[in-house]
């Protein structure tokens, strides 16, 4: 199709808008409400053009380009109209900096960053320097605003985690509303009220948290103004470097861009599609990286326990001390705790270190042990993971998958399938954003596992089970997994197991069937002379080993280590991981390691060298990769014939709630994400009883009230956290502490207000 834009004949595909046709041919039309990922809205009226034969000034973003059209995008009249439209927008926007004669001097002079309060101009706006509105003003050209200035004086909304909202800056372009509905299929956001007091947000004055917001940040990514400000980087300024890397928080290893400024990670964004993509990240990838990477508990240098205290020592000396501690220790006297968040390169060197230098095969991981005894079969099922199966199946059954705050790209694919008519069934305790599209929902766990699952897929030809990490914790986890495994073995169904850790496959490949061999046994073994921990230990008593070496990006729990070695954190060292479909993903270095920290493989190599080895002199991660055998891939895991425990009984009438427990498996190097990132703790706090808001009201409790949970003889007290994600009668407790023990999981309990 050919049309003429500004006297040039341009080619455009059938069905495009004038705006897109112009863009493709290099003609920039000012626009604010349009966004390439969203349906046209025609709200801002900046993109007006003249079309021969059409009356008035149609908006280019909503008008179809047609064969033979003649379009003019700049005429004196259009320019004038655009200036008026923009002035009207800016008369209700704190725009004085855009017109200030001292703007440049002020910007270069800006003494202190204004870190709090309300934006009253570009110089104190979080969007300064990367603002669509600023760009449009620049291109349209404005010296003054002829309309009366109106400041709406709407209180800034700061109560939700991760981002603040100042609707005094909002130009009501509706991009956030559309991305929330169209791309995320979530629907938390809508236009509220009318006229001058119109803002954006959930209906009925609920908070975003209450309304089911996933805090995916898509709205922030597309907002053309500073209305939505990321708490964690509001005042950090524009990034000076962007690195394409992978998210460190789960087995999907989503592509993301790491934004850095002055060699510090200040934020992340979904991969750059050139349009500031709204993207598919979950809250962890979108908001948690910088907070975890810059956490106050990050280690900047080594330290050693000496008589009477802890002493900071230089790295050289720390390496020597480590070599000294390890001298003469061999075989069973040495044990090592590994992390499923380490890269393949780190794991490979750690494995060589333990096996070749220390002659020990005592390797384990507390993070893996926390996933429970079903992790072996879970990984066995996961070995057949193929992401493409989502699109190729005719029935998707999600079991134990909570898509609220994780695995968003999978959820979006499932929802897209469900929307287009695919059968979608959920089995789980939590009402997640996919629930509204499910044909059937069943509480987890199911009794008579195999028969029940069989029944769910009875009419399907190519069923797919999507197993979330929550499948791992009920008492009958192994029976459920055995049933799914039997389906996949016989070819009756496919399965996709969602791995909660970055490189769980890598660790499984290194450890093979010793993977789940108890880490806690190593912690309690007094015969161990040196315990080398590459993950933070759960708090609690000091390990029984004579000496403990702690190597992590994060400070160890109090007094649990004799030697502390600072490791590079996320985004601070290059490496590879195996994603949940078994593909290698590349993690790139975005900033230098903090302080004197080093990549894990470098520290281990230096110690091996100090102990007299000459075969640990790797120049870089690439050299390690070349050394790793190609078979450094999944090894078969233990089989699980005949392992089932009884299904949970239905709750008796005097114990009307069903309590589900799970560990805080969202973690990095053994540190729970809800301990690293306060906003994440608002979403999934540890040690709280999450309860349906209606149930909470019936009990007369509100957020933070203490309740007594009773089951048979056992009882314990916890604060409550009302959450709309829970169905009535369901409770969830995230707890790392095994002392919070109830007779079963899930467990029928009674709740009482204390």
């Amino acid at each position: 199709m050919k049309l003429v834009i500004d006297n040039r004949t341009v080619e455009a595909p059938e069905g495009t808008t004038i705006l897109d046709a112009a863009r493709h041919s290099g003609v920039a039309i000012p626009s604010l409400c349009s966004h390439p990922e969203l349906t046209p809205y025609g709200g801002c009226r900046l993109c007006i053009v003249e079309v021969e034969g059409m009356r008035g000034f149609p908006t280019a973003c909503t008008t179809r380009a047609e064969e033979g059209m003649t379009v003019r995008t700049v005429t004196a009249e259009i320019r004038q109209l655009r200036r008026e439209v923009l002035q009207l927008i800016l008369s209700e926007h704190p725009a004085s900096c855009l017109m200030c004669e001292e703007a440049e001097a002020c910007a270069s002079f800006q003494t202190t960053i204004r870190k709090a309060g309300v934006t009253t101009g570009c110089r104190t706006c979080t969007n300064d320097g990367r603002c669509d509105l600023q760009e449009v003003v620049e291109s349209v050209g404005l010296e003054e605003i002829a309309y009366p200035i109106y400041y709406r004086n709407i209180p800034v909304e700061k109560d939700d985690p991760f981002y603040d909202r100042d609707y005094n800056l909002c130009i009501l372009c509706g991009r956030c509303v559309r991305i929330c509905q169209e791309v995320r299929m979530n629907g938390t956001l809508a236009f509220k009220q009318r006229g001058r007091r119109t803002t954006i947000g959930p209906a009925f004055d609920r908070s975003h948290l209450e309304a089911g917001c996933e805090f995916c940040g898509a709205c922030l990514s597309v907002c053309p103004t500073g209305t939505l400000g990321e708490k964690g980087r509001k005042w950090a300024g524009a990034p000076d470097a962007t690195t394409a890397s992978a998210c460190p928080f789960c087995g999907l290893a989503c592509d993301l861009q790491i934004l850095a400024r002055k060699d510090t990670i200040i934020g992340t964004l979904p991969p750059d599609t050139g349009t500031c993509s709204g993207g598919t990240l979950c809250v962890k990838g979108r908001f948690c990286v910088p907070e975890a990477a810059n956490h106050p508990d990050r280690l900047a240098g080594p330290a050693a326990r000496v008589e009477g205290g802890v002493l900071g020592v230089p790295m050289e000396e720390a390496i020597q001390r480590a070599a000294g501690l390890l001298k003469g220790v061999e075989g069973g006297a040495f044990a090592m705790l590994l992390s499923p968040d380490l890269s393949l390169e780190d794991l490979w060197v750690a494995g060589r270190f333990a096996r070749e230098v220390m002659k020990s095969d005592r390797l384990a991981s507390t993070a893996v042990e926390a996933l429970g005894p079903a992790v072996g079969p879970f990984l066995e099922v996961a070995a057949g993971n193929r992401l493409a199966d989502i699109g190729e199946s005719d029935c998707i059954v999600a079991v134990g998958a909570d898509f609220s705050y994780g695995f968003s790209p999978i959820a979006l694919r499932i929802m897209a399938e469900a929307r287009s008519g695919r059968r979608y069934i959920r089995v789980g305790a939590i009402e997640d954003p996919t629930a509204k599209l499910a044909r059937e929902s069943h509480p987890h766990p199911l009794a008579q596992e195999s028969a029940f699952l069989e029944h769910l897929i009875a009419s399907a030809h190519r069923p797919l089970f999507v197993l979330g990490p929550d499948v791992l914790f009920p008492d009958n986890a192994e029976a459920v997994l055995a049933a799914v495994r039997n389906f996949t073995r016989s070819g009756r169904a496919k399965a996709l197991a969602l791995l909660p850790h970055h490189n769980l496959f890598g660790l499984a490949a290194l450890l093979g069937d010793t993977l789940e061999r108890g880490a806690s046994a190593l912690l309690n073994d007094g015969a161990i002379r040196v315990l080398y921990c590459l993950e933070n230990l759960p708090g609690g008593p000091r390990p029984a080993a004579v000496s403990v070496i702690h190597q992590s990006p994060f400070r160890p729990p109090a007094s649990s280590a004799d030697l502390v070695l600072p490791a590079a954190g996320m985004g601070e060292a290059p490496g590879t991981v195996l994603t949940l479909d078994g593909q290698p993903a590349v993690v790139r270095q975005a900033v230098g390691p903090r302080g004197t920290a080093l990549p894990d493989w470098k520290i281990l190599s230096a110690i091996a060298t100090a102990m007299g080895r000459t075969d640990f002199n790797y120049a870089d991660a690439g050299e390690i990769r070349r050394e790793m055998p190609p078979s450094f891939a999944l090894k078969p895991l233990r089989s699980l014939e005949g392992q089932t425990r009884g299904p949970a009984a239905a709750p008796p009438a005097n114990q009307p709630f069903l309590l589900h427990r799970r560990p805080p498996y969202e973690s990095f190097r053994g540190v729970a994400l809800n301990a690293l990132v306060p906003g994440f703790a608002d979403l999934l706090p540890s040690g709280h009883i999450a309860i349906n808001p209606g149930d909470a009201a019936r009990l007369g409790t509100t957020d933070g009230d203490i309740v007594r949970v009773e089951a048979g003889g056992a009882a314990a007290e916890f604060p409550v956290k009302p959450s709309p994600r829970l169905t009535p009668g369901t409770l969830v407790l995230i707890h790392a502490d095994p002392s919070a023990r109830f007779p079963s999981n899930p467990c029928a309990v009674n709740l009482r207000r204390r």
């Binding site: 003494t111 204004r114 709090a116 009253t120 101009g121 003054e144 985690p161 810059n294 306060p678 906003g679």
Partner: protein, 277 residues
């Protein structure tokens, strides 16, 4: 503890607080400041005294929410209390019959200029007060000021009230109004005070600025508030806070004020969920 008698937002980001501190209220003079804490064990920050009532024993403070401590202050309500209010600190602004004095104020300085203008007027000066801000909705205090000056000039960036522009416009406005100055006194943000020192230089009269470096004790002990003035080292807390802006080493001053910006970001970055920042 020092009881808070009044606390309210004035305009976006600026708050007014009246706090009981009888000993300070009994002695304070225009241009002096106090050091306050928002919470026990919290940071100590200097704030200029914007007004006082010796009889009632109260002080008025006007502050801008810019970081951890000032947002904690902003969250305080009437009936709360501050653990620390020490002062009066610093030297009072010199008040003499100078003739014609032009006071310039922006941001929190619109508050602290009031007692200065009042005292100048009482000392028999012809007083012109110019207040400036980005937009009409950010200006405050004009009614109170009007009673203590001969001419009140308002400047906004967007022209939504008074003259359109920035401090650079003031000499021209003064010429138009036939005002000549024997002395300039400028209170407000560092940018305003520095630009004013340049803009008024040609007038050949003192340009008194009230400096706001980072301070800790406010009594000349820590040295944090050091600056170079006329080639010599001074401590803003005991030698100032008023200085002739024409002799201040501004480059160094700015560098020192910016010194802890990265550290100041820590409390706001590791937050996620609290209101208080």
């Amino acid at each position: 503890m020092f009881a808070i008698v009044e606390s309210q937002p004035l305009v976006p980001n600026l708050y007014r607080m009246v706090v009981e501190a009888p000993p300070v209220a009994a002695q304070v003079k225009p241009g002096q400041f106090v050091i306050v804490q928002a919470v026990e064990f919290g940071e100590r920050i200097p704030l200029s005294v914007a007004d006082w009532d010796a009889e009632a024993g109260t002080l008025t403070l006007i502050f801008m929410e810019v970081g951890k401590t000032t947002s904690a202050l902003a969250a305080k309500k009437r009936g709360d209390a501050l653990p620390t209010v020490v002062g009066p600190l610093g030297n009072p602004t010199v008040i003499e019959p100078f003739g014609s004095v032009v006071c310039v104020a922006g941001c929190y300085g619109i508050g602290s200029i009031l007692p200065v203008a009042r005292a100048l007027k009482a000392a028999g000066n012809r007083v012109t007060v110019a207040i400036e801000g980005r937009s009409a909705y950010l200006l405050y205090g004009r009614e109170a000021l009007r009673g203590h000056c001969d001419t009140l000039i308002e400047i906004t960036r967007d022209g939504s009230r008074g003259f359109k522009g920035h401090i650079g416009r003031l000499p021209e406005i003064l010429r138009e109004k036939g005002v000549t100055a024997d002395r300039f006194i400028v209170n407000g943000c560092t940018f305003l005070m520095r630009r004013a020192s340049q803009v008024f230089e040609p007038a050949g009269v003192p340009v008194i600025v009230s400096l706001n470096p980072i301070m800790i004790d406010g009594t000349g002990m820590c040295g944090v508030c050091r600056l170079t003035y006329d080639g010599k080292m001074k401590f803003a807390c005991v030698d100032g806070p008023d200085f002739d802006g024409r002799l201040v080493d501004w480059e160094e001053f700015l560098k020192r004020r910016k010194q802890y910006v990265d550290e100041e970001l820590i409390p706001v970055h590791h937050t996620g969920h609290t209101r208080c920042y």
